[in-house]
Amino acid sequence: MILYLVKRLVVLLASTAVAGVAVFAFMGLLPGDPAEIALGVNATPEAVAALREQFGTDRPPLVQFFDWFGGLAGGDFGTSYVTSSPIGPQISERLAVTAVLVLGGMVIAVLVAVPAGTFAAVHHRNPLGAAISALSQVGIAVPAFLAGILLVFVFAVKAQALPSGGYVPFSEDPAQWLLSLLLPWSSLGLVQGAVLTRYVRSSVLDVMREDYLRTARAKGRGRMGALWRHGLRNAAVPVVTVLGLQLATLLIGAVVVERVFVIPGLGDLLLNGVAARDLLLVQGVVMVLVVAVLLINFLVDVAYAALDPRLRGAR
């Protein structure tokens, strides 16, 4: 168990380092010199040179990399060339928003998918079960932003029941915070819930065919009892993978929902950074996203170990 975790942790750290290099190298490809861009069209060469020195972009790439990467370790993302403000706090502020959005959405997804998927699997031979899995197929096919737009149309514009967008920080007004997140959560949650439902269903179906479920029934458990006691945890193993995958893609994927609902999340920050050619900012956001995904992978591995004694390798 410990060995397993240590191994995963080493992989996590190594991947982070490699990802750092990759991101840095990739960003080096961005056209334009930050100093020139910052100074605009008619800047004098001296002014540009001075600004380059101020930004530190006149140094060799390797030095820049280590400076940047070293800073990351201490939580220092540098200072934006464009907004001249430190990047770290911006990212953490946005990350918090996106995290709340994505986690909330996934909670809804799980709350929808686990019962729906299980039900669809158990009743896969009757119309209601088939209807649920058909519904989930349709849910998967709807782009998240379309779901968002429709939700806004129905609940905000027509019914005037909820705000159409905007984000109110929890610290400002918890009630408004909740209201402002209900629709974004729902649009993420329903679409992702549909995806998850499908996986829960097929995972439960697989488990239902397992011998040990038959054993449980031979002991005197009913169909559902056996599934509940022995099946769900086994079914959870592949579902956790999908959950991890979804979380990982949503961190950036939520940007479309952030757009629809005008939520100042991390994806939005990234797009702003790209639009403004804010190199360091983009680099920082990409790095945070990548590390977050790596971290999610790590957590998925840990979850496996927690769920499945075979992976703990103890004999």
């Binding site: 410990i2 060995l3 240590v6 390798g313 004999r315």
Partner: protein, 264 residues
């Protein structure tokens, strides 16, 4: 086919094979599994050599080594006088030694037609195929029309015939069989064993036959080696071992097998 009996075909000396399990703890290295602990055996030309032992005793490992599919951790294997352990170019071995596996379900590629399955060793060895496939199918008692079908269209016994046809394709001198009848119905088992016996006689094959069932080995082979925990604990003429087992393990083995004769 004239095969001078009395010359060794396979000579294995002090074979060891250690598998390392992945480590499970930070401090200790992964557990070592000694699948073979110094196995020596000699198979003579034309001999039918049986290997019996329980699951995990190292039979399959030994076979893999003999067939050049795996490398021993230590020891030497000579095939027709040439060393094969650790050698890369094993063409001489492939030409002369072929193998039949236990499970006819999984030993035939489900995506290949029987024709291609049977011809595979010839293709791999760059030999002409010609009418060989039909010839082989006939020899194992299958209609020529079988060539254009897929393995799943055959029963277990038929599939095992296809596997035998494949093994015979390059006209090997040695046939290695890993539990070839364990997965078959009793009613079919006899057919396959009879077929094997006929083919061995017809082609003067040397046979290495692995089984967990001493009575099957007794029917097929003249010599036998009994394996337990990676070692050969007893060897000799089958009838001798059957009648007067020397090693306690062999005795256990013999007593464990229920036989109709003994019970009725």
């Amino acid at each position: 086919m004239a095969t001078p009996a009395g010359t060794p075909v396979i000579e294995a000396r002090d074979l060891t094979r250690v598998y390392r399990r992945p480590r499970t703890s930070l401090t200790k290295p992964g557990e070592a599994v000694h699948a073979l602990k110094g196995v020596s055996l000699t198979v003579m030309r034309g001999e039918r050599y049986g290997i019996v032992g329980e699951s995990g005793s190292g039979k399959s490992t030994l076979l893999r080594l003999l067939c050049g599919l795996d490398r021993p951790t230590g020891g030497s294997i000579r095939f027709a006088g040439q060393e094969i352990a650790g050698r890369r170019d094993l063409r001489f071995l492939r030409d002369d030694l072929q193998i039949v596996f236990q499970d006819p379900m999984s030993s035939l590629d489900p995506r290949m037609k029987v024709r291609d399955i049977v011809a595979e060793p010839l293709v791999a060895l760059g030999r002409p195929i010609g009418g060989r496939v039909a010839e082989l199918l006939e020899e194992v008692g299958l209609p020529a029309s079988a060539a254009d079908r897929y393995p799943h269209q055959f029963s277990g016994g038929q599939r095992q015939r296809i596997a035998i046809a494949r093994a015979l394709a390059p006209r090997p001198k040695v046939l290695v069989a890993d539990e070839p009848v364990s997965a078959l119905d009793v009613s079919v088992r006899g057919q396959i064993l009879n077929l094997l016996a006929d083919l061995i006689d017809a082609h003067g094959l040397t046979l290495v036959f692995v089984s967990h069932d001493l009575s099957v080995v007794r029917h097929v082979c003249e010599s036998v080696a009994v394996m337990s925990e990676g070692e050969i604990v007893e060897r000799g003429a089958v009838d001798t071992v059957w009648a007067t087992p020397a090693h306690p393990y062999t005795r256990t083995l013999l007593q464990a097998v229920p036989t109709l004769e003994g019970l009725l």
